[in-house]
């Protein structure tokens, strides 16, 4: 089955992001496909490259990066949600004259059209944290 996931929640604030991560791993391990993971609203904070959680806690942003890299997942971060929360790639940091970018390179910024596209091309769209 072809799944797409929407992650609405920030890491650590609620369980939703972590649950989405577990689901994604289980789906892939079960032989299913993931068409796209879309990070929306507070969920864009999962794409931060700058999180440094304590060593005895799960590094959720890093886990998303590894999952995306290892499985070549199309992990898209809503650009409107991201910019206002300080999640910027190099291009956006330059565009808005910010000193630093903050988004991990595994992710790409995209628009809501990609979420609607995901809903049309997936057998199931699962929303986490809504």
């Amino acid at each position: 089955m072809k799944f797409s996931l929407v992650v609405y929640s920030a890491p650590y604030s609620t369980q939703a992001s972590s649950t989405a991560l577990h689901f994604a791993k289980a789906a892939l391990a079960g032989g299913h496909d993931i068409y796209r993971i879309f990070f929306f609203q507070d969920g864009v904070l999962n794409a931060t490259a700058l999180a440094v959680p304590p060593q005895d806690e799960v590094d959720i942003p890093q886990a998303w990066q590894e999952l995306t890299r290892q499985h070549g997942i199309d992990s898209v971060v809503c650009v409107a949600s991201a910019l206002k929360r300080g999640i910027l790639d190099d291009d956006e940091a330059n565009r808005y004259d910010k000193k630093h970018s903050s988004m991990a390179s595994e992710f790409s910024l995209g628009g809501l059209g990609q979420l609607i596209d995901a809903s049309l091309h997936s057998d199931r769209l699962l929303c986490f944290g809504a």
Binding site: Q41, A80, G111, L115, I116, S119, L120, L125, C127, A130
Partner: protein, 122 residues
């Protein structure tokens, strides 16, 4: 791309001003409409408070979606619904609402969700 239009339901259940979910719902709904999909917007639970008239969110620096709702028809969003039992549970009536919105009974809402290709919950 599917050849037929997908039926997408946007279910708005949280009250205004506690979060920005409804604004996100509206953005996504308009995107879906621009993709020529068949969209419905349903208000239930505390989401019905979005429909109250005379809201001044700007006084606390927040945008509400009330201003955008009456123009949805221009974007070919024909179906804007409110769950009747949610209104009744909050002692609200249709004439407290900022625009005419069709009531939907809970079992009919269940069917709408069952028949939808996708449901986005906000």
């Amino acid at each position: 791309m599917h050849t037929d239009r997908a039926r997408i339901v946007f279910l708005c259940r949280s009250s205004p001003y506690c979060n920005t979910a409804a604004n996100a719902a509206l953005d996504l709904l308009l995107t879906a409409a621009a993709f020529d999909q068949e969209v419905s917007l349903v208000f239930s639970d505390d989401g019905v408070f979005h429909l109250l008239k005379d809201q001044l969110g700007t006084r606390i620096g927040l945008k509400n979606i009330a201003g955008a709702l009456p123009v949805l028809a221009l974007y070919e969003v024909q179906q804007v619904l409110v769950e009747a039992s949610s209104l009744a549970a909050r002692n609200l009536e249709q004439d407290s609402l900022l625009m005419p919105v069709a009531l939907i009974e809970t079992p009919v809402l269940a069917e709408l969700l069952e028949d939808a290709d996708q449901v986005f919950n906000f």
